[in-house]
C-alpha cells in the first residue's frame, strides 16, 4: 500500500480553508480564492442531503496517532479544526482556527491568534489553553513514541503556552521554517478526550470512534472498515455546510464502487484506475475528472555507496542509460489512460508556487529523459559491458541480471509496469527478474537488515532495483526528506546517502526567508536529478468520478476529498 509512504510524506497537513473563512479572517494567506462551484448567486442551491463517497483505501483508524491511510486523514480534515490550512488554488496558508500568526525570535517562537466563540462538539468552549495543553501532553516524555507527534514537532517543541484565551505561543528549540506546513496536519484534539491517557499504549489503543471535534462536521457513526457517517456541526464557527452530512463507505474493489456509482447507491468515487476511466468518461450521468496530482511513480536504483553486489549500478552513466531505456510516454498511455505526463522529479508541479515566493516549488530546468534505446545501448557499449549469453551484458564479471522489487499494492498497474520494464531492459541487454511483495515485505527486502539502527554500512546493501511511487503535500520538504541519510530504515527506499544533500536539508529546514529556502529546495532536486536514486516515471492525474446530480466540487491534486482543505465538503451540494 502506498499509504505508509503517503502518510509520512504528508508531514505537512494541508488544511484548505473554506474560502469564506479566508476571505473574512485570513491573514498570512494571499488573495482568497472565490467560492468554488459557481454557486455564488447562480443556479438554485438545493440544501440538504448526504454526500456519499466510495473510499479509496478506507479508514484504518479514527485515532490520529495511529492512522496510516490517506482516507483517515481526509476524514480528519473535515471533522477536526486545524490551526492553519491550505488554499487549494494557490496553496498559500490560510487560517482555520487561527486568525493570524507571526514568527518571532528568528523563527523559534510562533504566535497564533485563534478565533473567539468556538465550541467543542460537546458544548464546551474551545480556548487557547486547550490547544497548548494537548500539544504539551503529546510532546511530553512519557508519551515518547506516539505516532504523528514526531512528524509534526520532531522533538523541537520545547513548550506551548497560552498567555490568553485567544493566543497560542509555540516555543521551539531552533528556527523552523516549515512550522505552518507541519501544523496544517495537526488536528486540534479535545483535551477532555485525550489528556487522560498517560502512556503511549493507552493513547494508541483509544479507538476514538466518537471524537469530540470542532470542525465543520461531527461523526455520527463509525463502523470499522465499512462506513463513516457525519453530520454538519451546528455550532461550527465557519461557513455552514450546504449538505446535511457526508459518508465514506468502504468498497474493496473498484468494480463494486463503480457499480454503486452508476446505480446511485453512491455519489462519488475517490480513485478510479486508468483502464476503467474511459468507460466512466463515456457515461453521461457522471462527471469523470482527471486532475494533475502529486502522484509520481518511480523506478528506484539502489544508491547506497556501500552496496555489495552489482556495484555497476552506482555508475551515473549506467543510470543515464537506464533512463534512456524507459518509455515514459507509453506508461502514460497504457497505465494511466493518457491522463498524466512524464515526470522529471519526485516533486510534482501540481502544487504550484511555494508560499511567499511566486515561484514554483518544482525546480525548473531539470534534465528531461527521452526514450532512446539506441543511446542507452551506446552508453553501455561505451562502458565496456559486452553482451553475452542470451544477449545479456556482463559488468564487473557478472551478468547484468537484476532483481526488481515490486510492491503489488503500491498502485494499480504496478505489476504491468514491471512487465514493460522487462521488455525495455532486455532491449538494452539487461535482464530483470521481478519479485513481488506487499509493501511491508518489500520495504524489508529493500532495507535488508533487522538491526536496530540502520546505517549505510549495515543496510540497503543487497537490493538492486525497485518500482514504487510517492504522493506528497504542497511543501516539498517532507518528500525531499526521504532521500536523507537520517531516514535510513524509516522513509528511505533508495539508500541514497549524500552529505551535501543532508546539509541542504538541514539548511532549508531552518531558513526563514522563503526565497532563499526555495533556492535550496531547487538545489536538492537538481542533486537528485543528477544522481538518480529515483528515475521519476509519470506524474499521473488523479482520476475521480461523481454523479452529475452533485456540484460544487473543485479538483485538487489530492482529489475532491482530501487532507488539504475542507472547502469541498462545505461547498458540495445537490444540483437544484
Amino acid at each position: 500500500m502506498t499509504r505508509v509512504l503517503q502518510r509520512c510524506v504528508g508531514g505537512l497537513a494541508l488544511i484548505g480553508a473554506a474560502t469564506a473563512i479566508a476571505g473574512c479572517f485570513g491573514s498570512g494567506g494571499s488573495s482568497s480564492s472565490k467560492q468554488q462551484g459557481g454557486n455564488a448567486g447562480s443556479a438554485a442551491v438545493k440544501r440538504g442531503g448526504v454526500f456519499r463517497i466510495a473510499a479509496n483505501d478506507g479508514i484504518d483508524s479514527m485515532n490520529p496517532f495511529t492512522a496510516f491511510n490517506s482516507d483517515s486523514h481526509n476524514a480528519f480534515q473535515n471533522i477536526y479544526s486545524f490551526l492553519v490550512q491550505y488554499d487549494t488554488k494557490t496553496f498559500d496558508y490560510v487560517g482555520d482556527l487561527a486568525t493570524s500568526w507571526k514568527a518571532q525570535n528568528g523563527g523559534r517562537d510562533w504566535v497564533f491568534k485563534i478565533r473567539t466563540g468556538v465550541k467543542w462538539s460537546d458544548g464546551r468552549p474551545l480556548v487557547a489553553k486547550d490547544v497548548a495543553d494537548v500539544m504539551n501532553w503529546a510532546t511530553s516524555p512519557k508519551l515518547e513514541g506516539l505516532g504523528l507527534v514526531g512528524e509534526i514537532f520532531g522533538g523541537h517543541l520545547k513548550h506551548a503556552a497560552a498567555p490568553d484565551p485567544q493566543t497560542v505561543v509555540l516555543h521551539y528549540d531552533q528556527p523552523i521554517a516549515v512550522v505552518l506546513s507541519k501544523l496544517a496536519k495537526w488536528p486540534i484534539l479535545a483535551p477532555q478526550q485525550w489528556l487522560k491517557f498517560k502512556t503511549v499504549t493507552a493513547a494508541g489503543q483509544f479507538q476514538n470512534t466518537a471524537p469530540i471535534t470542532s470542525g465543520p462536521f461531527v461523526v455520527t457513526s463509525y463502523a470499522k472498515r465499512q462506513l463513516l457517517l457525519t453530520k454538519a456541526n451546528p455550532s461550527y464557527y465557519g461557513k455552514k455546510p450546504i449538505i446535511d452530512g457526508w459518508g465514506l463507505k468502504q468498497y474493496d474493489n473498484i468494480d463494486a464502487a463503480i457499480q454503486a456509482l452508476t446505480s446511485r447507491e453512491i455519489d462519488a468515487v475517490e480513485a478510479v484506475p486508468g483502464p476503467s476511466f474511459p468507460s466512466l468518461e463515456a457515461n453521461k450521468s457522471l462527471n469523470a475528472v482527471a486532475a494533475p496530482s502529486s502522484f509520481v511513480s518511480d523506478f528506484i536504483i539502489n544508491s547506497n555507496p556501500h552496496k555489495t553486489s552489482h556495484r555497476e549500478l552506482l555508475n551515473p552513466k549506467l543510470r543515464q542509460a537506464f533512463a534512456d531505456a524507459i518509455d515514459k510516454e507509453s506508461l502514460v498511455r497504457l497505465i494511466h489512460a493518457n491522463k498524466g505526463e512524464p515526470a522529471d522529479s519526485i516533486v510534482p508541479k501540481a502544487y504550484g508556487d511555494l508560499p511567499g515566493t511566486q515561484k514554483p516549488s518544482h525546480a525548473p530546468g531539470l534534465p528531461q529523459d527521452r526514450y532512446d534505446p539506441a543511446a542507452a545501448n551506446r552508453i553501455l557499449d561505451g562502458l565496456g559491458y559486452k553482451r553475452g549469453a542470451r544477449g545479456i551484458r556482463t559488468a564487473n564479471g557478472a551478468p547484468m541480471n537484476y532483481t526488481v522489487i515490486v510492491p503489488t499494492d503500491a498502485y494499480t498497474g504496478v505489476t504491468r509496469v514491471s512487465d514493460l520494464f522487462k521488455r525495455w531492459f532486455s532491449a538494452i541487454g539487461v535482464g530483470l527478474t521481478i519479485k513481488t511483495f506487499d509493501s511491508a515485505a518489500a520495504y524489508n527486502e529493500i532495507i535488508g537488515t533487522q538491526a536496530a539502527t540502520k546505517t549505510p554500512a549495515n543496510s540497503y546493501k543487497s537490493f538492486d532495483l525497485s518500482l514504487w511511487n510517492w504522493t506528497s503535500r504542497p511543501d516539498p520538504e517532507s518528500l525531499l526528506l526521504v532521500a536523507t541519510t537520517g531516514e535510513y530504515g524509516s522513509l528511505s527506499d533508495t539508500g541514497y546517502s549524500n552529505p551535501a544533500y543532508d546539509r541542504d536539508y538541514k539548511r532549508q529546514f531552518t531558513e526563514m526567508d522563503p526565497n532563499k529556502r526555495l533556492a535550496i529546495l531547487w538545489d536538492m532536486q537538481r542533486m537528485l536529478a543528477r544522481d538518480r536514486p529515483y528515475i521519476p516515471l509519470v506524474w499521473a492525474d488523479k482520476l475521480q468520478a461523481w454523479s452529475t446530480k452533485w456540484t460544487g466540487l473543485t479538483e485538487t491534486p489530492q482529489g475532491f476529498f482530501n487532507e488539504s482543505s475542507n472547502a469541498n465538503m462545505l461547498n458540495v451540494h445537490q444540483v437544484g
Partner: protein, 321 residues
C-alpha cells in the same frame, strides 16, 4: 451404550489434542513471516530506537520465542486473543464482529446449497438415467468446477446494477421499519450468498444422488413399493433417512470449511467478515489478528468435525464397534 460413550470421549479427546496442536503450530508459523508489525509501524511514526523498543515491549516482541509462546498460552486460557497491531483493539472484539458478519451470509449460503443439493440429488436419483438426472448432475458439476471468485465476478456482471455490488447494508439509507432494514440487508446478501451456494451445492447433489441410489436398491424400498406406497412417501420416509447419514456428516464437515473459505467471496463483494480480515491482516502483518483468525477458523472446523463424528455415532451405531 458404554461403547458409544467410549467412542464419543475418544473423539472429544482427539479434538482437544488437535486444537492444542493447532494453537502451537499457528503460533510458530507466524513467527516465520518476514517483517514484523513493529518495523511496519515504526517506519511511519519515525520512532526513535527507544520508542521502537517500547512498542516491542508492548507487544512482547522483545522476549524470547519460548517466553512469547508461554505468554500466548496463558492469554488464551483467559480468553484473551491479544491486541491487534494495527488498530490496538482487542483481537477477540474484532474477530467477533467479523464473525458476526460472516456467519449469516455463510449460513444462508449453506442452507441454500443444502436445499438445492438435496432437491437436485433426489430428482436425479429418482429419475435415474433420464434427462433430469443427467441435467442435474451436469449442472451441479459445472458449478462445482467454477472458480468461486470468477463466479462472483460473473454474477456481478450479469446483475448489471440490479443488485448491490458490495457491502452489507446501504449504510446511507434511512430505514423507518425493521422490515425495510432487513430487506436492505437481504438484498446485499443475495449475490455473495448465491455465489457461495452455487459453488457449494454441487457436492451435495452428487452425494445425495449416490446415497439415494444406494438405498433405493435396498429391499425395504422394494417392499415399500410393493406395498403400494406413493413416491413422495417412499422418498421421505424410507430413502432419505438412510441417505441422511452421509449427507449430514458431509454438511457438518462442509460448514467447517465454508466458514474458513469465504475469503474470496468476501473480497469480491466487499463483505466485512473474517475472510477479508485474514487477507488484510496478512498484508498489514497483523500477527495477533492472523493468529486469532486461524485459531477461530481451525477451531470451528475441529468443532464441526467433532459434531460430524458424534452425529455419525448417533446415526450409525456400528461405528462404535
Amino acid at each position: 451404550m458404554v461403547r458409544g460413550l467410549d467412542y464419543a470421549l475418544k473423539r472429544v479427546g482427539f479434538a482437544l489434542i488437535t486444537l492444542f496442536v493447532v494453537i502451537t503450530m499457528n503460533f510458530f508459523l507466524f513467527r516465520v513471516l518476514p517483517g514484523n508489525a513493529v518495523t511496519n509501524l515504526g517506519r511511519d511514526a519515525r520512532l526513535s530506537p527507544q520508542a521502537q523498543h517500547a512498542l516491542r515491549v508492548q507487544f512482547g516482541l522483545d522476549k524470547s520465542t519460548a517466553a512469547q509462546y508461554v505468554a500466548y498460552l496463558r492469554q488464551l486460557a483467559h480468553g484473551n486473543l491479544g491486541i491487534s497491531y494495527q488498530s490496538r483493539a482487542p483481537v477477540l472484539d474484532e474477530l467477533t464482529t467479523d464473525l458476526k458478519n460472516t456467519i449469516p451470509m455463510v449460513g444462508v449460503a449453506t442452507l441454500l446449497a443444502i436445499v438445492l443439493g438435496l432437491a437436485t440429488g433426489v430428482i436425479a436419483a429418482w429419475r435415474r438415467r433420464t434427462w433430469a438426472d443427467h441435467g442435474s448432475v451436469a449442472t451441479a458439476l459445472i458449478f462445482y468446477a467454477m472458480p468461486v471468485a470468477w463466479l462472483g465476478l460473473m454474477l456481478l456482471l450479469l446483475s448489471n446494477g440490479a443488485l448491490p455490488a458490495g457491502g452489507m447494508y446501504d449504510d446511507f439509507a434511512v430505514h423507518t421499519t425493521l422490515l425495510s432494514k432487513w430487506a436492505d440487508a437481504g438484498k446485499h446478501m443475495i449475490l455473495p450468498a448465491a455465489t457461495l451456494a452455487l459453488g457449494l451445492y454441487g457436492q451435495f447433489t452428487v452425494i445425495t444422488r449416490s446415497a439415494m441410489l444406494e438405498t433405493i436398491g435396498e429391499d425395504y424400498v422394494l417392499m415399500a413399493r410393493a406395498k403400494g406406497l406413493g413416491n413422495a412417501r417412499i422418498i421421505t420416509r424410507h430413502v432419505l433417512p438412510n441417505a441422511l447419514l452421509p449427507i449430514t456428516t458431509l454438511i457438518a464437515l462442509s460448514l467447517g470449511f465454508v466458514v474458513g473459505g469465504a475469503i474470496l467471496v468476501e473480497t469480491v463483494f466487499s463483505w466485512p467478515g473474517i475472510g477479508q480480515a485474514v487477507f488484510r491482516a496478512l498484508s498489514e502483518r497483523d500477527y495477533p489478528i492472523l493468529q486469532g483468525a486461524f485459531l477461530v477458523l481451525a477451531a470451528s472446523v475441529i468443532f464441526c468435525n467433532l459434531i460430524a463424528d458424534l452425529l455419525y455415532l448417533k446415526l450409525d451405531p456400528r461405528t462404535a464397534a
